[in-house]
Amino acid sequence: MTATICDSVAAAVEGVADGSTVLIGGFGMAGMPVQLIDALIEQGATDLTVVSNNAGNGDTGLAALLAEGRVRKMVCSFPRQSDSWVFDGLYRAGRIELEVVPQGNLAERMRAAGAGIGAFYSPTAVGTPLAEGKETREIDGRTYVLELPIRGDVALIGAHRSDRMGNLVYRKTARNFGPVMATAATTVVAQVSEVVETGALDPESVVTPSIYVDRVVQV
């Protein structure tokens, strides 16, 4: 089924259940779907596991969701930043769980989920605390660590344009995790700057094909 073009961000995040795993795009604020996150705060889902590269910047977007106490666990590569005071406070107060994942493994674990791969061996983190307790295997003289897929119930991503079927194009480094997360969740929601007529996007330039996208909202 092709994507539904929603007429509000509230409609775009309808039905997110308590306890869901939510993949949230963005690298810092580039590509972060701020309006969808604001709508999720309004919608009220709680006890969430959030997978995102960072753990919020400043007081808006993901930081606002964290500040509302809706997130039980954060899975990310780089929580600590100069402007991550919301997360830092929750973490130091013992009010949030944290799983730190090397950035490439984070992306690849979602790629694996979206591609139907059961697990993969990665050379990243071998011999470090982040590989402790994980299965390792030597292949052609090199040691690898077994990494499992990360699948979301919902993905919230930011893209540049969508057509009415849900084909997406991105803009510059705001692309980051969007295309990977779009493959790895049951319900994929994209906020875009513009929805154009089907046929208006150059098929050669489509980055996320419509098959992955469930809901689109123009913000």
């Binding site: 604020m29 590569s77 929580p79 930043q81 130091r92 979602m110 011999g127 470090t128």
Partner: protein, 210 residues
Amino acid sequence: MSLSKHEMAELVARDIPRGAYVNLGIGQPTLVADHLPEGSGVVLHTENGMLNMGPAAAEGEVDPDLTNAGKIPVTELPGASYFHHADSFAMMRGGHLDVCVLGAFQVSATGDLANWHTGAPDAIPAVGGAMDLAIGAKSVFVMMTLFAKDGSPKLVPRCSYPLTGVGCVDRVYTDVATFDLGPDGVVVRETHGMSYDELADRLEVPLRQS
């Protein structure tokens, strides 16, 4: 005289082959970009999905959709390309990058790298792309001061901080000397304001002269 950060960056830039694909991580190593010679043809990779990244954006040309790994607004050069995160890290892990330059808390004589976490009980661990870069690039250069603020050496027999990667560092540029790490042990390439004998005296790792 020991070297300033910019002088260290200049030395690193001098040793990067023409036309190489290079990742400069975040923080101090990004200074290397300012010292690449005109026409070097070096292509900078940034982990958040771009090749042929240009210099930092000047006031008035800031685009929130175009940042580097440190989230600083940057620019694009002709021949730039954009790609998603899984592809960006496949470039690292797959051995496609020629050089990466990273900062470090400690490097061991056998090339172990510690640069992501102090292990202090109140520290919030954050690794970003450091572990992927450390094991991925064909050559891994470290740029750091040789001694910590308390005077203790950062080139050590064995890292006491949590590791980022095992046996991954090829060369260490410091303010007082440059070292090659490899099958021949720790080889001193050049020194800056400190004699070989003083270096050998202050470090707890066996050294060889090149």
